[in-house]
């Protein structure tokens, strides 16, 4: 595959970069565009939650527990919530609970937005972390070859052969330890953000292997190609060859891999939260909102507590799958259209 390639042109003979070609393929993938747009909206509204919502996500209102989704403020004036601002700049007015309220009378939409911050952060960070770690390691190992390559490949095989979920459990238990001095010091330094970082580390530690394998495989095949040999011939250093030439060529695989990984990480976080090992309160995530909601399934309006965070997880993961699919088609035409 020539890189960059020339598009067999129409009127003007203009070189089109591989990325430009990929983008034009991507644009035709309507579901992927939709997915990307929804993710953008979700990420922005989560990030801007304090400016969108008129409420403090932690502020309880015991007079208005389990209220139904409604666009009207409560009838009882004593049940009016306290707001941090009267009207937010794109949000909804104080006193209105579009998704209803939770077991302590907190605004559910506000908590979903704040939960999105944590869930998306976990998703992006874990995806980025595992792809970077796995990818760089894979590139280094593939380039080094020999005993290092053999050993690391064996270790990766072992890691892939241990069932993942139990290992996640053990690892999150290990890192939450209060008996290991370094774990205690770490948790004191981090404060409430501790459980968030913990989940990111745990998911990363157990999901770098696919990126490692992909990049290693890709680079092993590219390594034999002419331009790598050419770079070597002109005396480029090993690190330079890997970073400047080989890795960019493996990039498209990694992009697809990490896009799909974001959704995967969000699902793993919700699963761990379901078992009580995920993000710990007072931090809010979609996973721990969902796990807490189970208790109230049979309360009047309690089903909304499970419905909304669940729908947001579902929607987000769905969009990342659409996006990943579109990216695969766009970046890797050899695979053909799968969907």
């Amino acid at each position: 595959m020539p890189w960059p390639i020339r598009a067999s042109a129409t009127t003007r003979e203009r070189p089109v970069s591989a990325w430009g070609l990929a983008w034009s393929r991507f644009r035709r993938h309507r579901l992927a565009l939709l997915g990307g747009a929804v993710i953008l909206v979700l990420a922005l509204s989560s990030a801007l939650a304090p400016w969108i919502s008129p409420y403090d996500p932690a502020r309880s209102n015991l007079r208005l527990r389990f209220s139904a989704p409604s666009l009207r403020p409560p009838e009882d004036p004593r049940a009016l919530p306290r707001c941090s601002r009267e009207r937010s700049f794109v949000g909804w007015p104080c006193g209105v609970h579009p998704f209803g309220t939770d077991d302590l009378g907190r605004d559910l939409l506000t908590r979903v937005l704040y939960g999105g911050r944590v869930s998306l952060l976990v998703g992006f960070a874990a995806a980025l972390g595992s792809t970077l770690f796995g990818g760089l390691l894979g590139a280094a190992v593939a380039y080094a070859g020999g005993a290092v390559d053999a050993l690391m490949t064996r270790f990766t095989d072992a890691m892939l052969s241990i069932p993942q979920f139990p290992l996640l459990l053990i690892l999150s238990g290990l890192l939450a330890s209060r008996e290991l001095p370094w774990a205690v010091r770490l948790s004191e330094a981090l404060g409430p953000a501790k459980s968030i970082l913990l989940i990111i580390v745990v998911i990363t530690a157990l999901s770098w292997m696919p990126a490692f394998r992909l990049v290693r495989g890709e680079i092993l095949s590219l390594k034999e190609r002419e331009f790598a040999l050419a770079s070597k011939a002109v005396g480029a250093s090993a690190a330079r060859i890997v970073l400047r030439h080989l890795l960019p060529n493996a990039l498209h695989v990694l992009i697809v891999q990490s896009t799909l990984m974001v959704g995967e990480a969000i699902l793993i976080e919700s699963g761990l939260s379901f078992l009580g090992l995920g993000i710990q309160p007072p931090a809010v995530s979609w996973g721990n909102m969902l796990s807490r909601a189970q208790e109230f399934l049979y309360y009047p309006n309690g089903i909304y507590l499970a419905l909304f965070p669940g729908l947001f997880i579902f929607l987000t993961v769905l969009c990342f799958n659409f996006l990943g699919d579109g990216l695969r088609d766009a970046l890797d035409p050899r695979l053909g259209r799968r969907a």
């Binding site: 932690a58 077991d103 302590l104 007072p282 049979y298």
Partner: protein, 633 residues
Amino acid sequence: MPSLGPWFLRAFRGLAFLGLLGVWGWNSVFGGPALNNLVIGATQEPDQLNPWEGAADTKENILALLFIGLTYFDVHGNLLPGLATEVPTFANGRLRVFYDEQGRFLRQEVDWTLREDAYWSDGTPITTADVLFTFEVQNHPLIPVTFRTFSNKIQEIIVKDAKNFTIVYKEPNPFYANPSGRIGLARFYDIAPKHIWEPIFREAIREAEAQPEKAAEIITAKFLGADPATGRDPTKVVGSGPFKFAEWVKNQYLRVVRRPDFFLRPPGPMENYVQEVIVRFIIHEPTLLAALFAGELDATDDIALSGYDPTILAAQGGGMFRVEVIPSGFIEMLNFNHFGHPRYGEEGCALARDLLLHDVRTRQAIILAIDREALAAAVFPGAIVSNSFVVRGDVGYNPDLIQWPYDPERARALLAELGWKDTDGNGILDRITPDGRKVEFRLPHVTTPAPFRVRTQELLVEYLAEVGIKLEPTNLPAAVLFSTEFINRGSLCTWPGIIEYAAGGGIGEVPADEISGELWADDPTTPEPLDNVPRRANAFAGSNVRGWVHEEYDRLHFAALNEFDLAKRAEIIKKMQVIVNWELPFIPLYERVEIMMSKVGLANYLAGAAITRTPFWNAWMWGWVERGAVRVY
């Protein structure tokens, strides 16, 4: 490709049809009055049914179906004879306490007589040989029995004949007749069948003694593991109670059948009462609720629905269920770290000292800053605010205590009096310590991740923020929180601020309940100071984990422990509550409630009086009204 359509359509239709068949197939009834049995839902399952050891509540419930002790509590908290012919008292001459000329305790003797008609479920009579054997196992050094508080008080057991024996105590035990282990024979239900357990016990001990380096494993495998209930031969599971073991499908259910030869009888013919009890174990609470509302369960035990809103459960039950809400005997409380007190010096916890938690005004300010009424209603529906360490309705309960109403103004005033001021305007109080450091009032709060406790933390953060205290909540699994490495090391600042948990607060058992036992610091009769306060000096042993010390309280505590007259004991306990009510070594939040659901036609299924409030205390009376069972309660 038109020919393909019908082929695949047929396959799909077939699948859909099979699915529908599965959905609407047989929907027969397998429980309730139709079969005269009772299906109870539980969220916890015992590991095994070995009557000597294991974690408490859920095992106690199952064992209550299979065993009965020498005595039992009725629903009003009266002691009634079980395996014994009568409950020993001074009046009937079966209880004797001896003192020397100076009034010092010498010994206590209690005479028991076993019922003539008491038989094991395999027909073997229950005799004093069983009593002696049970006591031998309970005290054997190789058997990992951990609850020896009361058996250690026994000096000897004198056997007169097959049915009569006398327990001699070397320390006073006013709870000599109290079920659940306080008699001192075994932790769960006083007497175990010798003819079943002796061969197992002797064999395990012989092997363990032969290989001392593997003793623990051998005892685990051969003694705990040889528990007949977990074995495959149900005839080997032998008990003294109203039901007989039938089968146990692990992680699913345990089934027991009625014993026609049991000596306690419900009114009318026994056939009118439940013939079979099935306890279904459904670990995940929402699934248990689903099974309940789907009509698969007839009742729930005393643990499963803890913390749920009873009015909502009743509404969801749609008139099919009766919802019982009863005070649980447990008080949920915020315990302070008192190791900042100058008495501990450098051995204490510096952070607690900075926060002045050892000063009574700090603790009073915090209780005044919390709207406990609103909190209890939101986090534990049905719970009642408490100001004591004894629950309402107990003989020792003192109603004339300070109520500590919600009063943030007074709280702020008290904190200002202690030198707390928000000098930097960040909303958190600060003060300058005597050694010139500036400290902020950041108060760590740690508890288990139980949903109602997480809700409590979230509300406490808000209440305390109003008076300028920043509460910093964390959660730890129960196994970590209650481990001696954690809870007993408050002096090392493992929990430098508040630790929240619940402890038993009475109902017929004062003052040997957990809270009063946690509060005493020093036994005046021993030379060592602060015996009960876990510190480095005593290798962190003792149950006064807070480090609160009050001489007058200790004096009263020991006076109550040695007082055999219930009325006099109650008076002493009322005085103890006055001290605790002012000093607030902990903040009592609320008395928890137990919530149990049972189908409307089920008779005599209700909470008992023992501290766990288990409904399993009178299983022989359970029955369906439509099958002719008579409601006694």
